[in-house]
Amino acid sequence: MASGKTLTISVMDPPYESATTTTVLRVMDAALRKGHNVNVFAYEGAVALPLRTQVPHPNPIKGTTAEEQHHPITSAFISALFEAAAASGAKLDWVNCGMCVDERGATEWVDGVRRGGPGDFAKFAQESTNTVVIGTR
């Protein structure tokens, strides 16, 4: 059941390079399970998190295929979180920074992600119960 509360998260790190991206997805999952609305402003490298062109790969060290390895792709996790939001009655709004997208050519995203800018982040913050900023280190 929706709680009526909204959490905004800003994330900057790209996939596969930091623990912060996993942390963001975990916080989103926990918030959505409690029925909280979640806004995400993906800034700089984080715009690659929902890329639909991500493909699982095998692991030649372990000799496993991509199927055996079940190699994770962050865009699939984000799609699962959109599904979780729909099931819980909460709203998930994910905005990819448009200029960050353009400079990276990172233009193809999973369903639910939309293009925006800092103005969306400001609006998110004003309309939210609280905002968590997770910068890159």
Binding site: Y16, E17, T21, T22, R26, D29, I61, P72
Partner: protein, 127 residues
């Protein structure tokens, strides 16, 4: 034969998404390509050598990370592949890690021995 020292310092950055540590992984791949490789774990990365890690159970909505990273076993596999793996003894002590908690085959060295390790290699890659 070229000898490379690979120093791993940043730990647990992207390991869940990658299912491994990217520097342990590339060190293993470089070894497979021929050169002699030594890995030095320092700072928080010394924890990679602690036996019995369990990163299972992660889910996002209905999507699960069904194959979690096993960094301790990755260190063991590196050693089996002929990569010498050293850990900085003081960095273990700072974190309360006893040498008996480490996977077999890891070599603890003191901070004062690190410069000597540099001298034993043709190149030093500090990631």
């Amino acid at each position: 034969m070229a000898k490379y020292l690979s120093i791993v310092e940043r730990a647990y950055h992207g390991t869940l998404e990658e299912q491994d540590d990217t520097i342990l992984w590339i060190s293993h791949m470089v070894k497979k390509a021929g050169p002699d490789v030594t890995v030095l774990l320092r700072a928080n990365a010394v924890n990679y050598a602690v036996a019995g890690q369990d990163a299972s159970g992660l889910t996002f909505g209905k999507a699960a990370l069904s194959v979690p990273p096993t960094l301790d076993r990755d260190v063991e596999e590196l050693i089996k592949a002929g990569v010498a793996v050293c850990v900085v003894r003081e960095d273990l002590a700072d974190r309360g890690i006893e040498s008996g908690e480490l996977v077999g085959g890891v070599t603890p060295i003191g901070r004062r021995e690190v410069a000597g390790l540099f001298d034993q290699n043709d190149q030093v890659w500090h990631w």
